[in-house]
Symmetry: C2
Subunit: 340 residues, 2 copies
């Protein structure tokens, strides 16, 4: 079984964006009412997926995608916490409908109603709702709800502990995933995403978060940002800082996906990061949609790169399937329920 | 000849830090006088280098280092532009003394007196002074003088054009190099540096800076941040954005150093980035000072990784020597003057 741990609903029906635009209009003109909840038919949802994620998954041989709302559209910096609550509800409910329509193809991960300056109570409530009521198996945690201003506390700060306590209780992991950037220095998918990945990993090196939460688990997407390429730097920095070996201090809790869009990058990832810490992901349909003229394949068809490596079956299976069971313990129960 | 394009004077005599502390004290208590210019003897300067950069260079077989003030200490966010002007003067004058004492070992690159919110006039004056009077061959340009707040304009914004005009006139390149971080999210050498490298490259993809300045040249240090590891992502993003091929739009003007502290990273760099765009660098004595227990060598002994690759002589010579002549045209004249 091939499990893609990193898919976003980037092709949602236009009604979802109409709702969001209604929110933004009401923020700009408070005399306007809040927008009504988006309504779309099952057929509209099917149409949005059949020609995109489902088609590509079938072509590429991906069986199941761990699926969450469009990351760039989370935009936690827009409006207030109330804005984010309504938006997260709408987006997560839609993911639940997708998973209901295609239970063999998609399992849900939620967007949180984070908001700059807000505490995490609403996020915890939404996480509980999504896991307990909608059957989701994880969450996307935005380390920078400001959208490129980076004025929140580091992920190792006690500010975040309430959500970590809930994650441990529910036994769900978080993908560390920023959203769009309103800082003109940072292109969203070309800089902000990758920087956030790198930043989070270094934060994890610096502190004892995983001593406080030994079972807390994070996926750092986009192949871990710059981290595997600079693995020697991170090993050396930890050593100079008298921190434990990365294998002991971070790698029991932190995992990387394979959203690296060329073979040499995937080769490096698999060479330097233990197999146990790598989860197959493609972020399809996502940041890069074109076909690489050098290969004739989509840049984001990351399965092809892994296939090209000639891995033994045990290694392949860990990356494509079984590591995901460890990181997302609720996934096994979902699959068992489908099989019944 | 082996030229290291990336060295900082991280071991300067304590008098330099005393001067800086005097500046900071005067900022905190304006009744205090500005500190006197640091004075240190030639012997103190020699002692600071003989047991460190010079010793290691000799051991490692590095002939010449392109040498600039300690990057993390630039701290452009401290005080006002006047603070930065005096600090840059002191630091650059000290680099000039190093180059005067060891003309065969060090060639100077300057720190600029950037300051948040200030224009670039003082930086241009200092650049002219350092090139025309002190014989420097390049500059370090901080894309984020705020120290992790990222509230300046992107490097492709017209804000920066005056210094680019001066760089073109003087025919000197800039290394894009941030300084310390006062944002608790960003560890300086583990996140802020790498993020800045990644950020700058993506900015260069997005705009037509090099159409406006066809001969402008930048070195992106630390192996280009995350860029080579995500080369497929950058190629794909440029393609999706209908930008030209990176080879045409960016790689005539942007170069990477080899400050990547493990062999797999160096292998990736040399595999995906054209040889013409790679300059040997180690940033020694710098961010990572320990010995890798896996190899028994210093993490930052990057020459060993390149040596291990079994490159042909032509490729080696480009990376170790001749690419530097292209990027730093004033270097050849300096070497000729030494040889005389």
């Amino acid at each position: 079984m091939i499990i893609d741990c990193h898919g976003h609903y980037t092709t949602a029906p236009a009604e979802l964006q109409t709702f969001r635009q209604g929110q933004i209009s009401a923020l700009e003109n408070p005399s306007l009412p809040d927008p009504p909840n988006p309504t779309m038919s099952d057929d509209e949802i099917r149409a949005s997926l059949e020609g995109a994620q489902l088609k590509l998954s079938r072509e590429r041989g991906i069986d199941l995608t761990i699926f969450s709302p469009r990351a760039s559209a989370m935009a936690h910096h827009i409006g207030t916490e109330k804005t984010s609550v309504a938006w997260a509800h709408a987006c997560n409910d839609l993911i639940a409908r997708v998973c209901g329509l295609y239970p063999e193809n998609f399992v849900g991960v939620c967007q949180l109603p984070q908001s700059p300056g807000a505490d995490l109570k609403a996020s915890i409530r939404e996480l509980e709702r999504c896991v307990n009521e909608l059957g989701f198996i994880g969450l996307n945690l935005n380390p920078d709800p400001s959208g490129g201003m980076w004025n929140s506390a580091p992920l190792t700060d006690k500010f975040w502990y309430p959500i970590y306590e809930k994650m441990v209780e529910l036994d769900v992991p978080a993908m560390v995933h920023v959203s769009s950037s309103c800082n003109p220095n940072f292109h969203a998918t070309g800089a902000h995403y990758i920087n956030a990945d790198t930043t989070a990993f270094m934060q994890f090196i610096q502190a004892d978060l995983f001593r406080d939460f030994p079972t807390l688990r994070f996926i750092i997407p986009h192949g871990g940002g710059a981290v595997p390429y600079h693995w020697g730097r991170y090993r050396g920095l930890a050593q100079d800082m008298k921190r434990p070996l990365l294998e002991e201090s971070v790698l029991k809790n932190v995992f990387f996906d394979t959203c690296v869009y060329h073979l040499p990058g995937i080769e490096l990832l698999l060479e330097v990061i233990p197999t146990e810490n790598i989860l197959f992901g493609s972020e399809m349909v996502g940041a890069v949609r074109g076909i690489d003229p050098r290969t004739g394949n989509n840049y984001d068809d990351t399965k092809k790169y892994i296939d090209a490596m000639g891995l033994d079956d045990a290694t392949r299976r860990k990356i494509f399937e079984t590591n995901a069971y460890h990181v997302y313990p609720r996934l096994k129960a979902k699959l068992a329920a489908i099989a019944r």
